[in-house]
């Protein structure tokens, strides 16, 4: 027979173990719900299972002469030099946002050609290029 002390301790250990399993499961589950995928315009065009209405990020270069502004929103075209996507955004843009510069927009896809952004990511450093965009450019511009 197990003594009372040992029994208590085993119970306690099981309890802790169970609790941690539940907690980790809980964390992973909400993590999966809140993952934001990054895609290039080409990936959006090509992928069949791209989710609409779920938060995601699109990145590339802002196309030259593509920025237009009215009272409600800013529209511009993000390109990866193969495909393009129109991004519409209302809000302040970061100071390093400009034509022919890298940009990452966070928001939702309304269809394969149109992206509604609710955040444009700012970069502090004018020499800095987000790694995702660097990769795209290296691939498409030789």
């Amino acid at each position: 027979m197990l003594t009372k002390k040992v029994k208590n301790r085993t119970l306690f250990l099981f309890f802790i173990f169970g609790l941690s399993v539940v907690i980790v499961f809980f964390i992973i589950k909400s993590l999966n719900k809140n993952i934001i995928y990054f895609s290039s315009p080409t990936e959006i065009k090509q992928r069949e299972d791209i989710p609409f209405g779920k938060a995601m990020r699109v990145g590339g270069m802002v196309k030259k002469d593509s920025i237009s502004i009215n009272q409600k929103e800013i529209q511009f075209i993000v390109t990866d030099f193969e495909n393009e996507i129109i991004v519409s955004y209302s809000g302040t843009v970061p100071n390093l946002f400009a034509e022919e510069k890298g940009v990452v927009a966070e928001g939702k896809l309304s269809d394969k050609n149109f992206f509604i952004a609710d955040r444009i990511l700012a970069k502090h450093d004018e020499n800095y290029m987000p790694p995702e965009i660097k990769e795209i450019i290296e691939k498409n511009v030789k």
Partner: protein
């Protein structure tokens, strides 16, 4: 010239550190119970020369000595004097030198302020700390030398990133560094304690002050960074769950857990192993944070130009540190028995630790998961703020209840006499919450619970304050102030989150925008020339129809010349009850200006309550001295 002096000083410090390690290991073998005078002298020299090397770099920045690459890349003659000095630590190389300075100074202070402790323990601490110092010195010399020279000498520097030219950001790095690098000393002490077998209460006493110092500075540093983000980044928020912010939170959770469990070790002589684990992990997490930020692995809004070769060095260093810590830990691990009564203060302190560890794990997963996924599958993701909010915020509710009740329990075992009072206070909290709910509008069940828990903690803290003033006991006050600060912080963040107004729109000069109770007139644009930037100032008239108050807001767009950069300065009107926040930006010189308008209730109280948390720590430091 400066370059040679600087490099000579750094090499001298490296030699001194090696000498200290050598003399200390010789001293270990002698049977005398005192540490030899030589070690004190060497440490004093080491501290002096390290400080001198840092001053040399500062002088380089003040004189705009562009023969140093580091000065050339990060300074400019037209920069204001204050930012010339702040530029010293506003870059990777300079900040690494600051890092080493703090390692050395803490090493020296720990040596001279711990007279009463075991000689072996102190010597081992010194040896390990100096090994750490040597590691960073090599990193500095081989990879990131701030004293590298450039030839031909350029006439003008490239300038400091304007976004860093801000008072909050000038003091932010030194504060954080004292906080994060200060942890190194109890990393070393913990290792020394394992090796020399000098554990228990006395070990807790020897590191207590250092843990508190670094906790205070970490807390303050994080707050200052948050304040900077609020008025400089132009989002109007103060916490974004950005990877870099998260990296600073990891050690903070660990150190908060450590600070609490250290009390148990000191008073009850138990939990020794756990304290050691925490001591080791605080500094390991600090270095991990540095590694993630400096190597450019994290895609963050805070990322500055980064260099993968730095990352590899820090990673190597980090793995060595973790590896040796683990080996020593398992070699020297001794089993201890913990017998806790459920209704004792130590149980509640352990509960604090569980919460901290849970927060730590959550944030760590949030940071590391995208990195692993990228390495393994090349899928690029980021983890959004909702993840952290969903997982962390519900847990804050029980935490706040425990924060109020826990300290009421005595050590070892105590009776429930206080249940009655708790019930009254909970009822009070529910009533106040109902008032807020009724007068200001509805919100979700979770928010209700948060408000009730926060108000409960606040009420409880106030009753504690009254009690301790009546009884004239001072030693409880710092704890109460910090806990009260936390309660207030959660409360005001809750209010702020629930009742903020945010509006984005584009306006031309002369146009008017109407919304809710507000009317915004974009009256005119002015320009202004300044020493190192030109500014375009928008004059906005804001009319609040509810109380017929008219206010002028003047956001700026600044064009800095060196380096040529645009920044947006928010116009912020701070009042006791709320902040008005307006930023203006412009894209490709169009007639439309982007406007972001926010009305944020109790913004200043968020800062005040956060500062109260840190204040509690500082008061405790001062009280202990007397």
């Amino acid at each position: 010239m400066l370059s040679n002096i600087g490099i000579a000083l750094v090499i001298l410090v490296s030699i001194l550190s090696s000498l200290i390690i050598y003399t200390a290991s010789v001293n270990l073998k002698t049977s005398k119970q005192v540490i030899s005078k030589n070690i004190y002298t060497l440490s004093l020299f080491q501290t002096t020369f390290t400080a001198l090397s840092f001053f040399t770099l500062i002088i380089g920045f003040i004189n705009s000595d562009f023969s140093l690459i580091n000065v050339y890349e990060n300074s400019h003659t037209a920069k204001p004097f204050f930012y010339k000095i702040a530029g010293t630590w506003g870059n990777h190389e300079g900040s690494l030198l600051l890092w080493i300075n703090i390692l050395v100074i803490f090493s020296y202070l720990f040596l001279i302020f711990n007279h009463s402790h075991d000689k072996k323990f102190r010597l081992y601490t010194l040896i390990i700390q100096n090994t750490l110092i040597l590691g960073f010195l090599f990193f500095l010399l081989l990879n990131s030398n701030p004293f590298n020279s450039i030839y031909p000498i350029p006439l003008e520097g490239l300038g400091l990133n304007p976004i860093l030219q801000d008072p909050a950001l000038a003091i932010h790095p030194p504060l954080l560094y004292v906080g994060f690098v200060g942890c190194s000393i109890y990393f070393s002490a913990a290792m020394a304690s394992l090796i020399s077998g000098y554990g228990g209460k006395l070990f807790a006493k020897s590191i207590k002050t250092w843990v508190k110092i670094s906790w205070c500075f970490q807390t303050l540093g994080i707050i200052v960074g948050s304040i900077w983000a609020y008025y400089e980044l132009g989002w109007g928020g103060f916490w974004f769950w950005d990877p870099v912010e998260n990296a600073s939170l990891l050690p903070w959770f660990a150190i908060t857990a450590l600070m609490h469990s250290l009390i148990v070790l000191e008073k009850r002589n138990t939990l020794y192993t756990w304290v050691i684990i925490l001591c080791l992990s605080v500094f390991i997490l600090s270095v991990t944070g540095t590694f993630l930020v400096r190597s450019g692995i994290l895609n963050s809004v805070h990322t500055f130009a980064s260099d993968p070769s730095r990352g590899i060095y820090i990673l190597l260093y980090l793995s060595l540190m973790i590896f040796s810590a683990l080996i020593i830990f398992f070699l020297k691990y001794k089993k201890e028995t913990n017998n806790f009564n459920l209704r004792s203060r130590e149980t509640f302190i352990l509960a604090n630790n569980w919460f901290m560890v849970f927060f730590l794990v959550t944030v760590l997963i949030g940071i590391l998961y995208p990195i692993f996924l990228d390495v393994l599958t090349n899928v690029k993701i980021s983890v959004g703020p909702p993840f952290f909010n969903i997982v962390i915020i519900p847990l804050v509710i029980p935490l706040m209840f425990l924060m109020a009740i826990g300290p009421k329990f005595g050590w070892i075992k105590s009776q429930n006499k206080i249940l009655y009072k708790i019930l009254i206070l909970i009822c009070g909290a529910i009533v106040i919450n109902l008032f807020i709910f009724y007068f200001f509008g509805a919100y979700s069940l979770l928010s209700n619970l948060i408000f009730i828990a926060a108000i409960f903690l606040i009420l409880h803290s106030f009753s504690d304050i009254i009690k301790s003033i009546k009884k004239k006991v001072r030693f409880e006050l710092p704890r109460i102030i910090s806990h009260l600060g936390f309660g207030l912080l959660v409360f005001f963040i809750g209010i702020n989150h629930q009742f903020s107004i945010e509006e984005d729109f584009n306006l031309k000069v002369g146009e008017v925008k109407k919304m809710n109770n507000y009317e915004i007139n974009f009256e005119e644009l002015k320009t202004k020339e300044n020493k190192n930037y030109k500014a375009v100032i928008g004059i906005f008239k804001l009319i609040n129809h509810r109380n017929n108050l008219t206010q002028n807001l003047k956001p700026e767009i600044r064009i800095y010349s060196n380096p040529e950069t645009l920044t947006y300065e928010a116009a912020i009107k701070t009042k006791i009850t709320s902040d008005l926040y307006l930023t203006m930006s412009n894209v490709s010189r169009s007639d439309y200006y982007n406007i972001k308008f926010q009305h944020k209730p109790f913004m200043i109280w968020i800062w005040i309550s956060a500062l109260m948390i840190a204040l509690g720590g500082f008061i405790q430091l001062i009280l202990k001295k007397k």
